[in-house]
């Protein structure tokens, strides 16, 4: 029997904007689980808090209430809602990967270095890291002439592929994905789907938000639907 690598219990988050004196509800009482070799998809209308759930797990957002239980390889459980900053950094380095919707990366590094960096940070040598990065970029259809160019000037689709490659290269145990194929052409999307399927079969547990319902049908083993929260501010 597989046990869950991630169990989220009653996770709630709201933002308080001091200048506007406004509380903005994001997600409320979210329960979900992620298992090894499985993909859990989060669905729901825009603004219902899908990205916020992923960011709370990664601790880019501070969770408001609830528990986020991550179980590591040794079976030890950490509540990410309570864990120290150092503990979270450690898990980001080895265990938990995040392919965000938008690429925030070093503007002046060649794409190949941007992608290999997570392996370098883990202590791999430069050669191994570059080879692994090159393999992934090839798989994701990134033309070789772009490899030495900083991604700052890339198109949306190219940036997204760099972002994906960077998230996948470190082979995390838990992978968070926020609309990873939103701006890709159909051919590249297919490659990404193949890649995610392969990685899943290798044992990675995934929690994902997808742009297209079709991707949920094809990739998800479980689906969690979020209900939009009543917003107290006007818009």
């Amino acid at each position: 029997m597989n046990s869950a690598i991630l169990t989220v219990e009653k996770l709630s988050k709201q933002f308080f904007l001091h200048e506007q004196q406004a509380a903005i509800p994001s997600c409320a009482e979210v329960d979900l689980q992620v298992f090894p070799k499985e993909l859990t998809a989060i669905v729901g209308p825009t603004g219902c808090g899908k990205s916020s759930v992923l960011k709370c797990i990664y601790r880019t957002y501070l969770p408001g209430a609830g528990r986020i239980l991550y179980q590591n390889e040794a079976g030890h459980t950490t509540d990410l809602a309570q864990a120290s900053d150092h503990r979270v950094l450690e898990l980001r380095l080895r265990d938990i990967g995040f392919v965000t919707q938008f690429l925030h990366c070093l503007p002046r590094k060649p794409a190949l270095d941007v992608v290999s960096e997570p392996l370098l940070l883990r202590g791999e040598n430069r050669e191994t890291a570059r080879d692994a990065a090159a393999d992934l970029l090839r798989l994701l259809n990134v033309p070789e002439r772009l490899w030495q160019v900083p991604p700052a000037t890339f198109s949306g689709g190219e940036k997204q592929r760099i972002n994906l490659a960077r998230g996948l290269i470190s082979q995390p145990r838990l992978l968070l994905l926020d609309e990873p194929t939103a701006s890709l052409d159909p051919d590249t999307s297919e490659r990404v789907i193949d890649l995610l399927t392969t990685i899943k079969a290798k044992g990675v547990g995934m929690l994902a938000v997808f742009h297209h319902p079709e991707l949920v049908r094809r990739l998800a083993d479980r689906v969690v639907e979020l209900i939009p929260q009543k917003t107290l501010c006007h818009e």
Partner: protein
């Protein structure tokens, strides 16, 4: 991860001070001047730790007490309050209980600093190589040939160029002077490096290359760093974790991406919003 520095309740008061200084200053009253005795509470209640190989950012507006933190840790200024423990190869050093000779030893061997103002970090009467030699002479290396070799390596590594080794940094550009300071700071391979507004006032392209150099050093040597800056861009690029200061106090601390994307304090929200 290994802890290298633990700072507890550190503080600095300029002036005679009175028992009400700390309680009467800070972000709640919006001032660092004690209304009872007119002393300046540069900072107080500063607590944080630093782990091996990480970069901790300290941000906040001018006058919020950032530089005073690193100046105390580098023994440039004596603290008025609190303590700091440096963990080094199985030893624990209670920084502010050490005698002057012990403090000098740590300054020369185990800590490095890069100041915003290169005049503070470099002696302009010496050549670039001479500045590095000066620091090496105060540590263990005394062989002339070895010192020159080491200076040459460092100036090459920091892209000053070994051919400029015998020139005075007086004639160098601001960016080059910062590189010489970095080379000097790194000469004794210190486990801890303090960076005080190292790129402030430089051209953007020069800034970018210095920041790249700092990141490369962190990755290659695993040096732990405290980076003081009022520039959010520098924080975003360099820091794993960030402390936000106002009126001499820490108002918020967290993972850098969290501080920037989900700031909790009204002041931090304002800082982040105005930088967008």
């Amino acid at each position: 991860m290994r802890k290298v520095l633990q700072v507890s309740n550190l503080g600095k008061i300029h002036g005679n001070g009175c028992p009400r200084c700390v309680a009467s200053t800070g972000p709640d009253v919006g001032s660092n001047i004690c209304p009872h005795c007119q002393s300046v509470v540069a900072n107080a209640a500063i607590s944080f730790d630093l782990h091996a190989g990480e970069i901790l950012g300290i941000m906040g507006e001018s006058g919020s007490g950032k530089s005073t933190i690193v100046k105390m840790l580098f023994f440039d200024e004596d603290p008025s309050l609190g303590e700091a423990i440096f963990y080094d190869n199985g030893h624990q050093w209670n920084l502010f209980s050490l005698n002057a000779a012990q403090q000098r030893r740590l300054r020369n061997h185990r800590f490095g600093i890069v100041y915003q103002n290169p005049h503070l970090g470099l002696n302009f009467n010496f050549s670039a190589g001479g500045n590095i030699a000066e620091r090496l002479l105060m540590s263990d290396l005394t062989h002339y040939g070895q010192i020159r070799e080491r200076a040459r390596d460092l100036l090459t590594r920091t892209e000053v160029g070994s051919e400029r080794m015998d020139e005075s940094p007086k004639k160098f550009s601001g960016g080059m002077q910062q590189r010489v300071q970095i080379a000097k700071a790194l000469s004794t391979s210190p486990p801890v490096l303090f960076l005080d507004e190292v790129t402030t006032g430089l051209d953007l392209s020069v800034q970018a290359r210095i920041l790249d150099l700092i990141l490369e050093i962190q990755q290659e040597l695993g040096t732990a760093m405290i980076a003081v800056t009022h520039d959010l861009g520098v924080i975003r690029l360099l820091a794993d974790r960030t402390i936000v200061m106002k009126n001499g106090r820490i108002i918020e601390a967290g993972l850098t991406d969290q501080i920037l994307e989900d700031p909790q304090h009204a002041y931090t929200q304002q800082l982040v919003a105005s930088a967008l």
